[in-house]
Symmetry: C2
Subunit: 111 residues, 2 copies
DNA sequence: ATGAAATACCTTGACAGGCGAGGTATTCTA
DNA sequence: TAGAATACCTCGCCTGTCAAGGTATTTCAT
């Protein structure tokens, strides 16, 4: 987890939304998947994770429900909404633009 | 300037350092170059710009001096330090890593 | 049997960077 | 001669991150 949080700031929501595109999932597991995908290079801090869930739900981009009471600790599952999918598309498009922009701005080529 | 500030947050310093790699320059002109390079898509807000200069100088990454009194408004020039160059290299390397990471995290491919 | 680790959730408060709003002074231009 | 452009700067708010702290359950090694 060597990547400083600030360079990814603002992308947390998109990262979480991406995880929910395939299927509903709960917080702890979502974060483990993120760590797996990055081979342990990155993971969300718990405080950041749950803050993001709350923000996303308040903005109508995800919905939550308690998992069936089985053995094990209770789990709160999240599902992405239609609005969430729209936002995901918007954000990924913006990311492509941002990436191109920064690439241009930190290259030492002639303008 | 449609790119939201938060997605570039934390990269402001690197963007400015990049401009100073070639030659000393003053704030207003640096920002204009940034705007030119991005074809008007992005520019730093003045408050952000001058905050960044102060931060960079306090961290020893740039140095400043007043331009020769000629006609026109006074200009404060900045030059990048050795430490600033080191940091620039570090930051651009980190950016490459961050970019790869985010690309992986927001793609809908199988993990 | 028992204590530590893992799972799983959550909140509070501090911190830092971006930026809107406001300010100053000079020079150029219509 | 008024307004736009150049050029600098500060204050205070907002927002996302995260260290630190908390709760409750289950699994596992000793």
């Amino acid at each position: 987890m060597s990547i400083s949080g600030d360079t990814l700031r603002g992308h947390t929501d998109t990262i979480i939304l991406t995880q929910l595109l395939r299927a509903d999932n709960y917080g702890y597991e979502i974060n483990k998947k993120i760590q797996q995908r990055t081979h342990g290079q990155y993971g969300l801090k718990e405080a950041t994770l749950y803050t993001a869930f709350k923000r996303l739900e308040q903005n109508g981009l995800i919905r939550s429900y308690w998992g069936q009471d089985g053995p094990g600790a209770r789990r709160r599952y999240y599902s992405i909404t239609q609005e969430g999918r729209r936002r995901w598309e918007e954000n990924t498009r913006e990311w492509a633009a941002t990436r191109a922009l920064l690439d241009a701005l930190i290259s030492i080529e002639e303008e």
